[in-house]
Symmetry: C2
Amino acid sequence: MLSFAVTLLDPGTDARACELVTPHGTVRTPAFMPVGTAGTVKGIAAWELDRLAPEMVLANTYHLLLRPGEERIERLGGLHKLMAWPGPILTDSGGYQVFSLAARRQVDDDGVTFHSHIDGSEYRLTPEAVVSSQARFGVDVAMQLDECVASTSSSAEVATAMRRSAVWATRTLAEARRIRERATWGGGLFAIQQGGLDPGLRAESTERLGSAPFDGFAIGGLAVGESRQDLHGAVAASAPLLPAERPRYLMGVGYPEDLLHAVACGVDLFDCVLPTRSARTGKVFTSRGELVIKHARFADDAGPLDPACVCPTCQRYSRAALRHLFISREATSVVLLTVHNLTYFLNLMRGAREAIMAGRYSRFRAATEAARLNGADESAPTGRGDS
Amino acid sequence: MLSFAVTLLDPGTDARACELVTPHGTVRTPAFMPVGTAGTVKGIAAWELDRLAPEMVLANTYHLLLRPGEERIERLGGLHKLMAWPGPILTDSGGYQVFSLAARRQVDDDGVTFHSHIDGSEYRLTPEAVVSSQARFGVDVAMQLDECVASTSSSAEVATAMRRSAVWATRTLAEARRIRERATWGGGLFAIQQGGLDPGLRAESTERLGSAPFDGFAIGGLAVGESRQDLHGAVAASAPLLPAERPRYLMGVGYPEDLLHAVACGVDLFDCVLPTRSARTGKVFTSRGELVIKHARFADDAGPLDPACVCPTCQRYSRAALRHLFISREATSVVLLTVHNLTYFLNLMRGAREAIMAGRYSRFRAATEAARLNGADESAPTGRGDS
């Protein structure tokens, strides 16, 4: 079991500053988790990650089961050893990846069978197997197996998947208890609320999960193609349903404005590929909005990506140099832009936490959003890109 | 003009420890220069390069002329700014790349015309233009334009190219003087000895160059496909011909054993893509020989790449983790293996310098080569690779 405490509630919103104590350290929230899918944050050496100092990082059970496999990870001393990262790790259960990446997928009430996107070999995930895998990885937070459906699914399909996921949550919890009784694992287990954009289904999902002693609750099934308005509406409706005395984790979200909105709704934890994946396509997050580094307008720009940023990329490299390295397809460009983008997201959540602790979260959010909106005019893409 | 001093001569060989003072710092030799072709050592952020602390780094005039171009580099404050590297930089003249990379190449006595391998646009290099470009980059050491010929060329072709290169060297030196009189550049100029594997042509080349006040001399036209025996023979014959009171630079070489041999012949400076390019193909240099990280035998190997290595990759990552990241094609793998391989080459030359200063270079060389040869049995590829 993890220990969790709400440190301070913002007076004007539902935002809160909390501490989640895990076997590998304390996670101060609100917090953004960089994504290290296959056992590394892409392009980031462990000592670089130390300096970025995220509260917790995320890895994917799906990818790690396929390669290098759970037996191997356990034999090598666990996922922390593999990643060379001594801090807290949360693993997604694989549910989302099975439904988005895997081939020839067959779901039944007991679990899901699929074929690897790497080599086609067959795998079977059950609620019990998935928590067992995560326990063998030695993670700090395991996620239950859930059934994810497309954003275009009918209400009946969403409801069926939600109810099945709730049954799986209960089975996962029972298995987690059995594992803990053998005292081989000290991590926590989070359940996942489903129900799409339907507040009634979200409420039913929460009721089905809410009375069981999970260590935390996630909001799943969002950021799958819905509009920003729908996303914000669903978060605003879903977050307050979850128990206030447990951490709340919004999965796979999102843009800075989405995080700031969700924090105001009482969400504590986030993960998203946006800062890392965007770095690889040359999209940069700044205090004055996004910019696309390959654009010709940056070719002679001697300034840093973000004058307000303290990351080493902004201390050392000009926009012109970063554009040159990006269009030259240099691997260094991935490293430099990833360090910058992660710094932006991590500091955004650090700033949110400080603001909550100072009782001024609404002002922090408004100022952050205004600067991004005003700055966007000058730093947004102009369409004059040369490649 | 650069200042150069021989600090100590090894009593048993021609090895020497020297200091070359440049506008951006002192280069203590023997020294290995990491290759930063297009303005970055591939995968290595500037702050990572700071920690690796090479004495000098190499960049390629050819690549930089094509992209981002000399006007842009000068406008942005020079190559040191572009690379975010405050230490000494040497640029190759582009001669070798024109002859190995460029399309539709036409050489005449005045220079060479070619088409960019990136976009096909036409460029013209002359001896004068090339040193002017390097001066605009603001490099610490510029190389003369030379004509490089294939290793399969006839003796007559090698002789013609050598004589043309010598004329170009004289023209380059005259242009460098004109540039320095305008006081816009404080870097030095190295001439390049050519002549293939023929000691007579090497001697003629040196005579043609030797009386002019170059700041250093390079041995060019080697490591282009000849056997190790031929390479070592040519270095042993060529190095002593070059003036002892100037730095000697062996271009594009090579394996650790080639460096150790050349140091014993009195060579001071080296550059090679071997440590960086090998990192991208999973080949690792260690004190006990080379290993290929993708091989299945490393899948459960919890040890470091090289137990004798102090680099952060060896301090944090197991061979098993590095194999997993490499076969998963993670960009992090490039970073980690490059940091390790560069550490190996840089420390090899640091060790050579220390040994020379202690008067025990021959023993250092013998012990280093013996450990690599003996260790190779256990760490060399077994052919049981799985990918």
